[in-house]
Symmetry: C2
Subunit: 217 residues, 2 copies
DNA sequence: ATCAAAATTGACTCATTAGTCAATATCAGT
DNA sequence: ACTGATATTGACTAATGAGTCAATTTTGAT
């Protein structure tokens, strides 16, 4: 078993160590995070951390996997509670629900977003592989289809030349880029959109309304 | 005069040193760039670099200023060559022209984009200030108005409830986020959109077409 | 209580890096 | 050629950080 020394520790201790590590990586990024700081904050010796994980890189990859799994779980749990049966309403509802569900996991969300946006060169290849595997395992395609269900797009109302694929592509683009944009604002502490999704949802709503009118009729 | 020891060097030498530094910072980011590598590649001693710039931070800020000025210049030069008188056509033309104009300055473009996207904490405050000042000096507002000229939006054709401001906001959002997205692809060497703007322009065109239909009539 | 295995420590190594400074080389004016 | 000023060097310092390991503590079985 990989990391068996670590895994056999009591759950509370494991979680505390991971939490500290996530905080540090989220705050400083991979390179600038010091294992000395992690160990002293977590109240364990340096030797022990390396006994558990062998290397900083392994610790980081473990965290990526751990956080990704947890957040995917939360996202999945939320996705079935969506009520709306209109394509665009549904997306707004989904974004809002997801935001709410993830609001207790701000550091984790920030950590993961950072992994995607600035994968440290030292671990880029391994991360790619790991996320690929995990997105297969957890059915990223399935989630995508729940989030942007093609069958809710009213084909007959589409403008000539417009396709469902293009609708989905543009909508996903808007949602993803908006998330990234506000993530950046949040990282620079200019806005906390997990606390108050108002501004974010307003801008998203404005854009989606334009998209809706842009693809239909 | 700031950095007078450096400024009084022959132009060619100055440019070579700056070029090397830009390359290194663009490739590695602020933290992971080593002054040892810069000096050895530039063929000068370490002491000399610090004689010129006092600190790594100063060198970085100097580069931000230098690159930002040069690229803004190039952008300004291009902006008057735009022919199109349709709001959306004009934007596509502008993006393409700008892309072409900046294609000999790939490293610089990447460096600057990186400064915006991941400002190193150690210099974040100074950068903010510097860019603020420079955007005032070089008339960022002016450029913005040339790129997204409100007077080319046909007010009478706008849907009820739609405003010119919202059109501009959404259009700018799409253009900026597309640039950021492809910048990231380029950084990960998955696509070179300065060499071949085809894919980029296709996606941008698709989106802008939806926006156009979304705001008019 | 004893003892072997496992957990844990923290001082140490080795590599790296920003920044310094005394020594040396170059140059300009006489 | 001489000299003072300026340009340039590169070995050195001090700090930091990943990873190691011999020594110590804890644990659990008998």
């Amino acid at each position: 078993m990989l990391y068996e020394a670590f895994e056999k520790q009591p759950q509370a201790k494991k979680e505390f160590i991971l939490q500290v590590a996530i905080e540090e990586f989220a705050k400083n990024g991979y390179e600038k995070t010091s294992t000395d700081v992690i160990t002293s904050r977590a109240g364990i010796s340096k030797g022990l951390l390396f006994h558990y994980f062998k290397s900083k890189k392994n610790l980081y990859l473990y965290l990526v996997s751990y956080v990704s799994e947890r957040l995917t779980e939360k996202t999945l749990a939320v996705i079935d509670h969506i009520q709306s049966n209109d394509f665009f309403e549904r997306i707004k509802e989904a974004v809002l629900l997801k935001q709410q569900a993830l609001s207790p996991y701000k550091q984790e969300a920030q950590f993961l977003m950072d992994v995607f946006l600035h994968p440290p060169k030292a671990v880029a290849a391994e991360i790619e592989e790991l996320l690929q595997q995990q997105s297969a395992e957890y059915g990223a395609e399935f989630i995508q289809n729940r989030l942007y269900p093609a069958e809710l797009i009213v084909e007959k109302k589409l403008r000539p030349g417009m396709t469902k694929e293009r609708v989905i592509q543009m909508t996903a683009f808007v949602v993803e880029q908006m998330s990234a944009k506000y993530q950046l604002l949040q990282q620079n502490k200019q806005y906390d959109f997990l606390e108050d999704p108002g501004l974010f949802m307003k801008e998203l709503g404005d854009y989606l309304e334009i998209v809706e009118h842009g693809v239909y009729e």
